[in-house]
């Protein structure tokens, strides 16, 4: 399966945030979407998630590069993890999970609610507390857990590790890695180290366009310099 973006354009007034974005994302890989602050990463995700209208272009799924058949993206195909997790505050974690499983009648859960909590390392004494009293990290884990259960074809992660402590960030990274098979994961961040550590591919969002970075030297000391140089180019572009 592939996620194809074709000539996507998004402007705010006269300011073009996304200019003719053209890219193909492949299944089973984690894409690190790197860009500077204000480069349009969240706008890009919001466009894909249907939260804001696009000016032109299209995006869809297809089986493979030879396939002519376009698969329209439905809301249930997308899992979106926002950087500031929001959860329904009047429910407890357990109540929310129960509700979530019930409204997704297409999901056949392979675990009990407590097993899901265990999988995400959510402490037992948090499970029956109101979500409004959860820490930032636990709220983030809840959001991730729901996306795992819903099992969408396309997972958009908008800086999910920002402001998490080291332990929770590591736990989250492990979960993201373990969930990459069978879906396309796009992980936005402005932290180069996180992208290099977690992602299979690095894509730069700069000057309103997506550009792949040669991944053959991923991990080399020169690699970082190359990306920084590429990002700096936008100032001169």
């Amino acid at each position: 399966m592939e996620f194809v973006i074709s000539h996507l354009v998004k402007s705010y007034g006269s300011k073009q945030v996304l200019k003719d974005v053209d890219f193909v994302f492949e299944e089973g890989r984690i894409y690190g979407l790197l860009g500077r602050n204000g480069s349009g990463k969240t706008t890009f995700f919001n466009c894909i998630n249907g939260d804001i209208d696009i000016n032109s272009g299209s995006f869809y799924l297809r089986e493979n590069s030879e396939s002519k058949e376009i698969i329209k993206i439905e809301p249930q195909d997308i899992g979106y993890l926002v950087s500031t997790p929001t959860v329904p505050e009047f429910m407890t974690g357990r109540e929310f999970l129960k509700f979530f499983l019930e409204v997704h009648d297409e999901i056949k859960p392979d675990k009990t609610i407590d097993e899901y909590f265990d999988y995400m390392v959510i402490p037992e004494d948090d499970r029956d507390r109101l979500l409004k009293d959860y820490s930032h990290g636990t709220k983030n884990k809840m959001q991730m857990l729901l996306n795992i259960i819903a099992s969408p074809k396309l997972v958009l992660l908008d800086e999910p590790l920002t402001s998490l402590d080291v332990i929770i960030a590591e736990e989250m990274k492990n979960v993201i890695r373990s969930q990459k098979q069978g879906r396309i994961t796009i992980f936005s961040t402005h932290l180069l180290d996180v992208a290099v550590d977690l992602c299979d591919e690095i894509v730069l969002l700069h000057n309103g366009r997506l550009e792949p970075i040669d991944k053959s030297n991923l991990g080399d000391s020169d690699f970082k310099d190359k990306i920084i140089a590429a990002l700096k180019e936008e100032d001169n572009a």
Partner: protein, 579 residues
Amino acid sequence: MRNGFFNTLTKVNHLRSIIGYNGLVYALKKLPLIGKHLPDKLYALTALKIIYWIFHIIKEVSMLFIGKIFGLGMIYLAALLLNKAYIGYGMTEGISGPNLFASFALFMFIIYALFGLMLNTRLFKCTTEKEYLVFMLRMNPRTLNNTLFIFDLAKLVIGYFIAGIVAIIAGAPFWLWLGIPVLAVCIKLFGAGILAAFYRSKSKRNKLLKGSTWGLIVRLLLVFMLLPVFMVLVINGYYVPLEYMLIISAILMLLGVWGFFELAKFDANLHRRALRDNIVRKEIENYREPVNAKQFKRLKANGTVKGNKKGFEYLNALFVRRHRTMLVLKAVIFTIVILLIIGLILFGFIYRYGRTFGAENTWAMLFNNFINFFTGRGYADALQPVDDNAATLFFRECASKQMLLMLIPLTIADISFKATQAMYINCDNSLMTFSFFKQREKIIKLFDIRLKQLIRINIWPALACGLFAVLILFNTGGQDYPFQYLLTFMVPVLISVVNSMTWLALYYLFQPFTTTVNVKGGAYKAARIIISFISGFICWIPLNTAILAGVLTVYTMVYVPVMRLLVKKYAPQTWKLKS
């Protein structure tokens, strides 16, 4: 020094015009429909900036006229009228006309100026331009504050001199024309001096440099107390001798000189601290502002949902349970109040009846009228027949032809708007980030559940209002036509159904809220205004209840499915997060 003054003034006015102009363009760009068509280039259009600058000057001059010339002009006018009246009635023994005029004018002016002194404490107020100039551009805060203060004083003097010309023409002594602006400056300096001394004392005690609201109220009350004194004097044909007024003026002038020295001692660091503390205070108030949002956060994980509810039914039941006080309390209180009023009226009537005609007759009357009520007839009793007075006729007219007035109490009792705010803040705001929540079928499923829930809550006040109207009919002659009781009862119920649907559908179609419970959508605001206007207009239309009930039934039967259809069609695009 003069160069420094004009330099500072130019910088402030330049910055003011930039802030004002950019703020105006920003506001225009936020307007619904036209806003998005306005280009960003507007921010850089020199021609428009010049036009704005001209308007800015016109505004400054107008403020000068309104605030200064008009204020003092009114005082001179009042003094002139009093003077003429006193001369007319021969109450000017021992004082010349111009001096009497001056006495009145001085008395009123001092009260006016003291009021101004209490309210006008702008010297240390940190406006946007002061914030930029002092904290970002590192301008000397003392120079800035003093420049603006001198500019204010200059405007004051010019304004008062202009107003004084009218007084001279009206016969005021020449020294008054010169004296009042000087006195005004001294009172201003006195006010600034008090503030400076107060802030310096606070600074020594390491406290936040801010004015005291209670202090202001006490001072205002003291000044207010001078007004009755003046009125008593005038009503009794007295006046304060000019010599006394001149002594008071001289004291105020001396206090002004004291104020000048106090202000001179107030150094740049204190000016900076006063401005900074003003910002701190503003920020504290901003934090306090979302009190409105806070009320939605008082949640406790008490109890859970009983029964076998699943999915959205479960979500809604939990939501109502955790927001019970917020959602149900208002409707319950309203219903209880209406029922209490009905109960008290009935109790009063029965009690008086029992005292007059005895218990046996009372029971007989109650039994007969109980039967009458349920057989559609009106109140009837041989011992105490219906009194056909104007009040009876008025209430009957309301219950039989003005049932649209029910819109007023039902709008007050309606909880739909607040319920939609709570839905957004505590539930939808977060669930909207999940894709399943935006699926058409799921949106409409939850919409239906919520609509039923809102109707279930809003219907109680409607039932109570319906009962009230039916009892009025019963007590004023019964039914004019078959089923009049039933139709009268139906009207408020149908109105409450329409209300519930309207607010819920508007929420789904416009989603106007932000996480701080502000209403952001222009279209939603417009819809609210239009609905309020229409409701305010139609509630006064007289309409026979039978016709009204028929129209409302048909309207509800069409309106509810049409709105539901609109929600089903458009909500997947419109029901979104707003930043």
